[in-house]
Each structure stands twice: as structure tokens, then as C-alpha cells.
Symmetry: C2
Subunit: 423 residues, 2 copies
């Protein structure tokens, strides 16, 4: 290609903006037809998908990609099944676009309400998992947005093969190809261009490691829906049912170590610490979880001495820091200070405690008597999620179809004029 | 002051963050008490307010401030009345904080819903109108946020005097002084610091001219709720009731020329242009509104030839551009291309036309048979507004108390665990 990366990205951006007008007013039936047809296309293209993925895997091995990353890159038959099921699930979700709420008459005689509409063009920047291509494209399409997808260069052949299936789906539904575009160049300047075209791109969703997200946030001239750390806490309060607390804390840590909703720090009220900690610690030790504790914790159970650094750390591993706190106030203070405002839970049977915890903990999900690992779009009933936002503005917590839309005001009158008596 | 501007702003930021935790959990009654007490303090301090404002006005005159800016700077007795009434109105508004919606049981047995909570710390950057100090502080306080206010240097004495009254109100209600802080230095580096402290400031609201807003948006490392142009259109469709259309278009342009909801371009369907334009033009001409038209317009009425530039221009003045369009499609295309996505209206008695216009015009307010000048927080029933957002993310259109809050998820269980059968 002889055109510059900037020209190329501008061309994609302009095409996406055009296409966003078409997909924004497409009917629910038409969008669902495209999703179902893309699912059929994926099912029919298993051999091509596997062959394309083999090329990426071979390239990855040649470049010395770590085994964990190769594992993420692999498009197994089960993962292809997962993409197909995912497309059909998104087709089955209710369409958020066009919903009107809260229409009411004002004293002037006009009616005012809000209508849910697509954001426009969404740029997705992600790393090696090729199935993100389907997740992101399907959610954006269903919510009436055009998408520009920039996957990792190590997955470029897989992403192209997946994109070809999406293209077949769009064509079958009579929708323009530019509704979903995959950036074809692996030049890193493409990312720089994508995040600095507010005239063509309305929002960027980076999905990947902290380095990617921080870089995108720092350099973007377009709003970013981002997900940083998940330093999640469970607080076992003075009024906890202790066997229940132990089950919750164990599930919160061990359901999966690598998810952002995994508990990283356990806070235990000093009034129950002696009774609670020994059996809790035994269970974690049996599972192979390393315990790091504050001084008061280490007076009760064996644990590595926790440092200030530990309270700030998202381990994503079988390691847990434990702190004994004076009471509810110190628990809330600890969470708001050291946490990442992601997901935090109190275990308590006392209404006053839980009421305060819910009101005062400043996190995207605040929980009562529930393990933090429940923080997930499917568990919350969103149907699917494009990520979990740790931002406060726009979308906070798991982001589903609604998070990919916004609301505009609609005002209906019959000739009412401002500054004059109602007609 | 011997500390650097950065140190000073960091100190304000840290104090605001601390105070935000207190105001965030303050009761509705306590917040209302502070607002009412501040209103009483303003009423009791009329002499001080006038004296402080006199100093600013004298300084402004000495510095050759334009008469229009001096007029905006003046704190007349009526404007002081307005601030007092404004505070009492905000006290009377419903408190958005803590509202819980959509709690529902999930198959796992957990209940999931959303709770409305304050954003945290809001930085307001504004130009010469000192009454913005009260508007901004009262809305932020009622919505449970701490505020850092950076007014124009030409209004510093007025702003300090107003802030002193707010401080009396906060003290009477037992709330910390740092809930509302006015930046005391007129050093411009203070703005640079305020918009780059994401650890202390959650959102910036710039209120002022385009230059200010563009500068803040460009340099901010904190989300910005911003208001750019208001290039608003009225489209007189083929199915318009023409006398009604004339009343609406006249009101949209002439209610006030200087507001962002004022109509700047009138689009007229070719099928009604000959019948509609002559009497419409006569009415505008009588009012002294300069008309600039496309060729087809100028074939019907006398008007200056409109240039491409005109369609892009927010006049905020008695000037109107007029274009004859082929029909609904071209009208929507014109609005989405040349408009500023602020407020646009169709005049039509036809349901299919209005349904398409509402769905396809990509503006923060889309109207039917209503003048665009109705775009306003009071008219929409928000009680008060901190501005009109032309952003798509978070808040779109007039921003009231709700726009200064966000929602977090709340999850309530009774020991349910993930990945296991419900207990």
C-alpha cells in the first residue's frame, strides 16, 4: 500500500462515519439478520479460520511468544463454537436503540423525554485474543455503531479471517461493509491515528494489559472507556455469619485467580479475627494460596509480613493479603484508599453496616454477602459485556449494549413558543 | 504566598478529595440546610458583595474591559436576588444521590441493581460572570460533590465575597469548608494544574467562550463535560403547517440571539418554499434580521448570497442563513453535516417524517414543532443546569443534578457463590 498510515486510517474513519449513519437507523431485524448470517459464515469457515490461526501461531512461535500468549491466541474448535454461540446470543438480546423514556409534559406545554441512540463510531484496540473481534463487533453492531477494530499484529491472519465472516453477514443483511472494519496494517502508527480522530471516532475501548490502556488513555483525543486494575476486597464484618464469610471469601479468591473480580485483599474485623482466621487460613493453605498479613493477622495465623506495596497490588495469582481492621470505618477507609474502585464486598447480617458500606464505598460494584468474582456482565444480566469500566463518567462497571449507547433529548410540541403563554 | 502554584493546587485537590467523602454521604437535610444558610448569608451580605464587585468593575474599567464584559461582571441587586432565589430552588430540588433502580434477581440468586452516587470532585473553570459561582457550587453541593471553582481574574473579589457566603452556609450545616473552594490565585498555571490532577479531580466543567473550552479539552487529563457551538436548525418540511412554522422559526431566532439554542440556519422544503418564504422573510426583515440564502432561496426572496462558511457559523446575532432543500433526506444530511449536534427541530404534521427526523438527526436535543430556543435545563424540568453538553458520553444536552452524578452497581446476596448451584 503506497498511501500513508494516516491517510489509510482517515479513509477507514470516514467510511466508518458514513456507515454509522446506516447502521444507526437499521432495524432490529436487519441487525439480527447480519449477526445470524455471520454466525453461519463462521460455522462454514472453520477450516479457513483454523488455517489462518495456524499461520499466526507459527509466526508467534517463531517470534518466541510466551506459551500463555500462544494459548490466548489459539482458535480451538471450542473457541470457534464460543464465537458462534456469542453471535447468536447477541442477536437474541433486546435492542437498546430507540427506547424512549420519561416523556412528560412541561408547564410550557412541550413534552420532554430521552431516546437511546448509538454512540456512532467505536474504535476497539485489543491484544492477542482473536475472539475479541467477534465480541466487540457483535455488541457494537447490535447497538447500532460502526466499529474499527485494531487487534494485535500477532493475530492479524485470524482477525482477517473472522472479519471476512462478519463481512458475509453484513452483505447478506444488506448492510455496508464499513460497519465493521479491521485495520489491515500492523504499523503501530495506526493506533496513534485511531485515537486522535474525534471527527471520525466517538469513543475508544482498549482491551488488554495495563500498559496498553495507560498509553491509549494518555494519548487519546477521543473519550476512552477503560478498565484499569481490579484490586477487590472482601470485608468480614463484626456481624458476619462466619461460615458464610469463609465460603464467600474462598470463592472470591479461588473461583479464578486471573479475573479482575478476584479478591486480592481480605479485611477482617478485629472482633471476629481470632475466631475466623485460623480455619479460613487453613482452607487457603490447603488450596496453595500464599497468605500475606498485617501484624495483627500474623499474631493469629502464620503469614508472610505484608508490606504497604501489598495493599496496592493486583496479584491475579494464588496470593492473598489479609488485614485486621478496627471496624467498619477503617474497612471503608482502606478500600477507598488502596482499592481500585472496581468491586468490593461486605459480609454482614447487620442492616446498618451494609447500608453504610453500600453508600460509602466508592467502587463500580459494591456487594453484600456475595463474592467479588460475581462482577461480570453475564452474571449481571447484561447478556454480554465489552469490558468492565473503572471510569466514573458514562459507563461504570460491566459495559453491555447500553454502555455503547447514549441518550438524546426529544422534545415534542405543537407550536408552543418560548417566553410566551402556552398556546 | 511562597508555595508554588502546583503545590497550592495540590493542596486544594487533596482537601477537595477529603471533603468529597463527607459531602458524598451527607444527608439531604444537611445539604439543604447549607444551601438555605448560604442564601441567608448572601442576603445579609449585599453591601459587601456590592463593594467587592465595585472593586472588580473599577479594575475592569482600568484594564479597558469591553462594555459587554463589564455588563456581565456587574452584580446588580437583581442578580444578587437571582443568586438567592437560585440557591433556594436548588435546595427544593429532589436529591439524586442514593436512588436505587432496577434491582432484580439473577438466576444465580444474587440481586443486581444500580445506585446513583456523586462523581466526587468537580472542577469548574469559568469566565467573568460571578453568579456562576453560586450556580455551580449549589448544583455540585446538592449532588454530593466537592467543587473547586476557578473564575476569571477580573471577578476575583466578587467571587471571594460570594465564596465567603457559601462558607458561612457550609459552617452552619456542619460541613467542611473544603466542600466548595475558590482558587485564590489568578496565576493561569492554576488552570493547567486543575485539569491534570485525575487523582484529585473527577471531572472538569469549563464554562465560557470557545477558546477556553477548546484549550481545556485539549490539555485536560481529566474527563471534561463541555459545550461547544450551538448551530441549530429549524426544518420547515413539506407537511408543515406554515403559519405555525413561521411562528416557530421566528421565536427560534428572535427569542434571544445570544443563546446557544437560537436558530442559525432555516431549512425550507422546496415544495413549500415559494409559499412560505416571502412572509417569513418580511417578518425577519421587520425585526432587523439579516438574511443570507442559497441560490434557490434568493430566487424567491431578497437575501445576501450564503457561502459554505455560513452553514458552519454560529452567529449569535440577528443574522440567519436560509437553505431550500429537496426534502427530508437532504434536511437530515445538512443538519448532521453542518450542525453542531446541539438542537434541531422539524416542523411537520406528518408522523412518518417526524419519526425519521427524531431517529436520524444526531443532536443532543431533537425537536418536533417546537423552537430550538427551548433547549434549556429549566424548560426541560431539570430545575437548574450547569451547562448544555455537546458531548455524547456521560451527559448529553442540558446537564442538571443527574449529570453531576453517576451510577454504581449494587449486588446483594446471601452467600451465593459463583460457578456453583444457588444455595
Amino acid at each position: 500500500m503506497t498511501e500513508s498510515v494516516l491517510d489509510y486510517m482517515t479513509r477507514l474513519g470516514r467510511a466508518a462515519r458514513e456507515a454509522s449513519r446506516v447502521i444507526g437507523r437499521a432495524s432490529t431485524a436487519q441487525k439480527n439478520r447480519a449477526l445470524q448470517a455471520a454466525a453461519n459464515a463462521l460455522d462454514a469457515a472453520r477450516a479457513e479460520l483454523t488455517a489462518a490461526n495456524e499461520r499466526d501461531l507459527a509466526g508467534g512461535r517463531a517470534n518466541g511468544l510466551e506459551p500463555a500468549l500462544l494459548e490466548r491466541l489459539a482458535l480451538t474448535p471450542e473457541r470457534i463454537d464460543g464465537m458462534i454461540v456469542g453471535l447468536r446470543q447477541v442477536a437474541a438480546l433486546p435492542d437498546p436503540v430507540g427506547a424512549i423514556r420519561d416523556m412528560s409534559y412541561r408547564p410550557s406545554g412541550i413534552q420532554v423525554g430521552k431516546m437511546r441512540v448509538p454512540l456512532g463510531v467505536i474504535g476497539i484496540i485489543y491484544e492477542s485474543r482473536p475472539n475479541v473481534t467477534i465480541d466487540a463487533a457483535s455488541l457494537c453492531l447490535k447497538s447500532g455503531n460502526a466499529t474499527i477494530l485494531r487487534g494485535g499484529s500477532e493475530a492479524i491472519h485470524s482477525n482477517r479471517a473472522i472479519a471476512a465472516c462478519i463481512q458475509r453477514g453484513l452483505a447478506e443483511a444488506g448492510l455496508p461493509a464499513a460497519v465493521v472494519q479491521v485495520v489491515e496494517t500492523t504499523d503501530r502508527a495506526a493506533v496513534g491515528a485511531l485515537i486522535t480522530m474525534p471527527e471520525y471516532v466517538d469513543v475508544i475501548v482498549p482491551r488488554g494489559g495495563r500498559g496498553l490502556i495507560e498509553r491509549v488513555s494518555r494519548d487519546a483525543r477521543v473519550p476512552v472507556i477503560k478498565h484499569l486494575d481490579g484490586i477487590c476486597h472482601v470485608y468480614v464484618s463484626a456481624h458476619a455469619d462466619l461460615p458464610k464469610a469463609q465460603r464467600i471469601a474462598f470463592n472470591a479468591k479461588t473461583y479464578r485467580y486471573g479475573i479482575c473480580g478476584a479478591m486480592e485483599t481480605l479485611l477482617v474485623d478485629q472482633s471476629v479475627a481470632k475466631e475466623f482466621l485460623p480455619s479460613m487460613a487453613a482452607q487457603f493453605r490447603e488450596k496453595g494460596v500464599e497468605l500475606r498479613g498485617c501484624e495483627r493477622t500474623r499474631a493469629i495465623i502464620e503469614a508472610v509480613a505484608a508490606t504497604e506495596e501489598d495493599w496496592h497490588t493486583e496479584y491475579l495469582a494464588p496470593i492473598l493479603s489479609i488485614r485486621v481492621v478496627d471496624g467498619l470505618d477503617q474497612a471503608i477507609e482502606h478500600i477507598n484508599k488502596y482499592g481500585s474502585h472496581h468491586t468490593d464486598s461486605i459480609v454482614s447480617e447487620n442492616l446498618a453496616d451494609t447500608r453504610r458500606f453500600v453508600a460509602e464505598v466508592d467502587s463500580s460494584s459494591v456487594m453484600i454477602n456475595t463474592p467479588t468474582c460475581f462482577a461480570d456482565g453475564f452474571e449481571y444480566g447484561l447478556g454480554a459485556e465489552i469490558g468492565i469500566s473503572t471510569d466514573k463518567l458514562h459507563a461504570r462497571g460491566p459495559v453491555g449494549l447500553e454502555g455503547l449507547t447514549c441518550e438524546k433529548y426529544i422534545v415534542v410540541g405543537d407550536g408552543q413558543l418560548r417566553g410566551q403563554e402556552s398556546v
